[in-house]
Every structure is written in structure tokens, then in C-alpha cells.
Symmetry: C2
Subunit: 314 residues, 2 copies
């Protein structure tokens, strides 16, 4: 355990946001000592409520996150924001874009904003996001908002790690029907119809409600639909109320929380075993002759892999 | 080995595109017998040239792919297209969108189009795409085009499996500079400046060339920049010429091809070992007490995972 890590952990305990940012970066980069650090802070975690905010691009998630954050701050809560970005290799600037979008709150006392790209997260985005959640949690953040545009499997996995998930829709995009189609309903604890001053808002509420009714057999609990206008702040107070009610009721779902812990262990496990086996075999001299045989079509990669797996696993 | 698979393989050998589509679906779904099937067809692969086409959304990749396909057909070549789609859970219709976009060629004799979503590919997108490439290859497709919007790590991995990669840019989007920033240059064998009848095309060519010149030390070969107008077909003939030259020269790069085979083996290996360990531990009775301990903050998931890994790996 290097002194550098110890210093950072101490600084974090004293409330240094600078140390917080540094520690997150070092854990993200898997710097030597990250594992021991996570083990040290783990007992200090589990206090924060983690809220996922997802929805179509353009539905107003960032503005809503901004408004929600201000409301939570007003209530004396300390807030951390993780903004997940589907970074394209063609627009490396998305992270910066995020910071700009978030500028409404990022300089506000009591808020810590962290952007994460979907690309390049070592060990996978959902595990990396879990690490950041834990570090913010240990730091003392009471509410951690994870905002994601909801594109791709990685992001859905991230959302599944939240205690409660808000799905943001807007009128006129057929979101209602699409959301159900794609299995979003299973992860939604609260639906928000944002831009509800626009035409079609009531229709969208009706559509979502109808589909929730149809699915009633599948879901035991009531899923609220809240109408908001994030730009003016309308409906955000009601959202906060539903949010706390939802968190309270989800807290009693021990099975759901245990399932999440199990999933975390299994994810960590498969990533770690995959990492070790890759490191070992990419450096192994044995692989070169196997590559040669596959290249010459004398053998196929599938049977080789089965053999290696059998030789590696107990 | 079930009779169903044998029948499909036989049908494919006779040239049935219907059987081809079915076999791909079954392999994608990892239906029992997929592994043996891939082992059987493996010796029949390795003949096709695989071309990656990537670039910013809106750069005209689909139209270009369409034009390129027609040119290749004119030359008597059989073409397969894999269209990769970053499907959002909010717009499950992207696959359909793709089919529509591709309608220019999808009904044409000698072309087989397959859409793949970035979500839900069992075992990872790049492995799934590799499977589809192999099946199309064994089927007799001489050129396989993989079109992807280039968002996300998964897609970059897919592109890395191609024999040659075309990066499509368009004027007025700052693509030139962004592309370099994000390390796209390392995967580009040919740059296409599409919509080259628009303002700023020459400037973009100049920018790309400048950056290629700067990077000369790093890259030994010349990377051509081709100006096209996909909507009219302008420049596509030149692109085809550069394409064949590029394929020819890449074919001699044995090291590059061997590195790709090695990467394929390692990817398959880590996915398979991760899959087996997850199946074993998710069904294991031992995990429940571990989950309980982590949930109660008596233990942390990180040290548990290290212990399991040590007990599982030889």
C-alpha cells in the first residue's frame, strides 16, 4: 500500500474534493494499489442512495438532473453526479460537452460531478461506475445521480446498479411505446414526462399508464408518472417526493439489494478471471504455435479455446 | 451434432441464402451445436476480404456502402454486408431503419445483408461479428463489408477484425482533427472525404493529409485520401481501385494477420472462461453466504473475488 493512496484516503476523509477527483482517476486507471484502496473504503460505503436517470437523447435529462440537484441541495443533502457519455471515437469532446452542460451545478457547493466515457473503462463501464459510486459514498455524498443517455448494453448495466431509476420521456417521440418494447419498463421505478408543456404530453402519460396497466401482472408495485418542465422547474418538487417514497420502499426490498450484490461479485469475478487468463496467455510462448496452426487453417480457434479453458480451470 | 445443423450446412453449401440467414441466427443465439458448426465451417473460411467502413453519423456511410457494393457486383464479386447498429433501448427500431437504409442493395442478386445490434450480442459484439464474417465467408462471399457508426469500444473492436478499414469523413464537421485525436488514424487504411462537392472538402483533405504527414514516423505506409460524392457515385471507382491495392498490400502483412488471429483466440478464451465461471458461481450455494457478508459490510467483494479466482484457476 503506497503512501500516496494513504494520503489521498486521509484527505478524502477531511473532505478534499481535489483528493476525491484524484483518487477516482487512480482507481479508474487501475493504478497499483487500487484494489487495497477499495477494500479499505468498502466498510465506509452503503450509506448513499444511488439514482439512475436515463432516457432518450434530447429528453432533457441534463436540465432535469440540474434542477433535481438544486432541490436536493435545498434539502441539505450532499450530491454526487456521474455523467455517462457514449463517447464516439469521432467526437472525443463529448466529455467536455458534458461538463459544459452540467455547468449549472458543477461549481455549486456540495456537488461533485464526474464524467465517465463508455469507451475505455478498464474492466467495464458498470464496474468502473460502481467504483466511483463507492468512492463518492465513502466521501459522504448522500445522493448519487447517475445520468446516462441509455445507449448500449453497458449503460443499461450501469443503470441496474442504481437503487432507483428514473426514465425520462418527452412528448412526440413515441417514447412510450418504444420504451416498453426495449424492456426499459423493467428498470423504471419512476417515469418522468418532461417538456410536459408541449403538445402530446397527456397522450404520452396515457400511453405509459396503459402499458403499465397491461404489465401489472408482471410488476407488483405502482410506478408513478410525473410530469415536469425541467427548464422552469415545474413538477420537480413532486418528482423529489416520489423519489424519496421510492427509495424508502426499495430499501425494504432486501432481495433486490442482495441480487445486486451477487451481480457485482459475479461481474468482478468474470472480469478478473478473464483479465488473468488474457495476461497469462498473451505472454505465453505456447500461443504462437497455436496462432500459426489457426492461421494455416490446420486447426480452428474454437477447439483450441476449449482445450485451454479445460487446462486452466480446476 | 443435431440433424438440423447438418441440414443447414448442406443447404448453405448449395447456396441457400435462407439457410444462411437461419444459421447466422442460430449461431448468434448460441443454440446448442453452434460451436461444432463453427468448427466444421472453419476450414472453409479465410477466402473473403473483410472491409470495415466507419465514420461519423451523417457522413454518408450507408450510401457509400450501397455504391461500393454495386461497383463490386459489376466486377462479378459476391458481397456480404454486416451493418452494425448502436441500438438504443429507446429506439428498438434501429435495426429496421438499417434495413430500410440498405434497401438499395439488399434485394439485389449476389448481396446478403445482415444487421447486428450492439446490444445483446452474446459473448460480445466483436466475437459475434467474427462469427457472421466466417459464415458468410464459408458461404462464398468474396467481399464482406462491415459498416459501423463508430460509437463505442465494441465497434472499434469489430473494425479491428477487418482486413482493411475505410474511414468516412465529411466537410464542415471538424472530422479531420477529431479523428486523429481519438486514435482513429491507427485503424484507417483509406480516408474517404465524402460529400466532397460541399464547401470545405479541399480543406478537410488538406487537414487529414497534414496530420498523416506529421504521423509519418509512426506509420510506414501511405494512407490514401479519396474524395467521393456517394449520392452521385463520383469517386467510387477510384475508391475501389485503392481498396484492391490496399487489400493486396495488407495481404502481405503476415504479422498483422497473425496478430488478429491471436486476438481472436484471446477474446474467445477470456469470454469462455468468464462464461464458465459465471455459470458455476451463479448456481453455487456458496455464493449466498458471501453475498450476505458483503451486504452486511462484514466483507468486501474485492477480496472475495481474489479468493475465488485463486481457487478456480490452476
Amino acid at each position: 500500500m503506497k503512501k500516496e493512496w494513504e494520503t489521498l484516503i486521509n484527505e478524502i476523509r477531511k473532505g478534499s474534493v481535489y483528493a476525491l477527483a484524484q483518487l477516482i482517476t487512480k482507481v479508474e486507471n487501475r493504478d497499483q494499489g487500487w484494489l487495497e484502496t477499495m477494500q479499505i473504503i468498502y466498510p465506509e460505503t452503503g450509506k448513499a442512495s444511488v439514482i439512475g436517470i436515463t432516457g432518450s437523447p434530447g429528453a432533457g435529462k441534463s436540465t432535469l438532473t440540474d434542477r433535481l440537484t438544486h432541490k436536493l441541495l435545498e434539502k441539505g443533502l450532499s450530491v454526487g453526479i456521474i455523467a455517462i457519455d457514449p463517447t464516439s471515437p469521432f467526437s472525443g469532446g463529448a466529455i467536455l460537452g458534458d461538463r459544459l452542460r452540467m455547468k449549472g451545478v458543477s461549481n455549486t457547493e456540495g456537488v461533485f460531478v464526474r464524467s465517465m466515457a463508455t469507451r475505455g473503462a478498464l474492466g467495464g463501464l458498470s464496474l468502473a461506475a460502481r467504483d466511483v459510486v463507492k468512492i463518492m459514498d465513502a466521501f459522504g455524498k448522500e445522493i448519487i445521480l447517475i445520468e446516462t443517455v441509455g445507449v448500449g448494453q453497458d449503460e443499461v448495466e450501469v443503470i441496474k446498479t442504481a437503487d432507483l431509476t428514473i426514465v425520462v420521456c418527452m412528448p412526440g417521440t413515441g417514447d412510450g411505446i418504444q420504451a416498453i418494447k426495449a424492456g426499459i419498463m423493467e428498470i423504471a421505478d419512476i417515469f418522468v414526462v418532461n417538456k410536459s408543456d408541449q403538445e402530446g404530453a397527456d397522450r404520452l402519460v396515457y400511453d405509459i399508464q396503459s402499458m403499465l396497466d397491461i404489465a401489472t401482472g408482471k410488476f407488483s408495485k405502482t410506478i408513478p408518472i410525473v410530469k415536469t418542465v425541467a427548464t422552469t422547474g415545474e413538477g420537480v418538487e413532486e418528482l423529489v417526493t416520489k423519489l424519496f417514497q421510492g427509495l424508502e420502499s426499495n430499501k425494504n426490498e432486501i432481495a433486490r439489494q442482495e441480487a445486486r450484490v451477487k451481480e457485482e461479485i459475479l461481474s468482478l469475478l468474470e472480469k478478473e478471471v478473464a483479465r488473468r487468463i488474457r495476461v497469462k496467455w498473451s505472454q505465453s510462448g505456447d500461443i504462437d504455435s497455436l496462432v500459426k496452426q489457426v492461421f494455416d487453417r490446420k486447426r480452428d480457434p474454437y477447439s483450441i479455446v476449449q482445450e485451454i479453458v479445460l487446462s486452466e480451470l480446476r
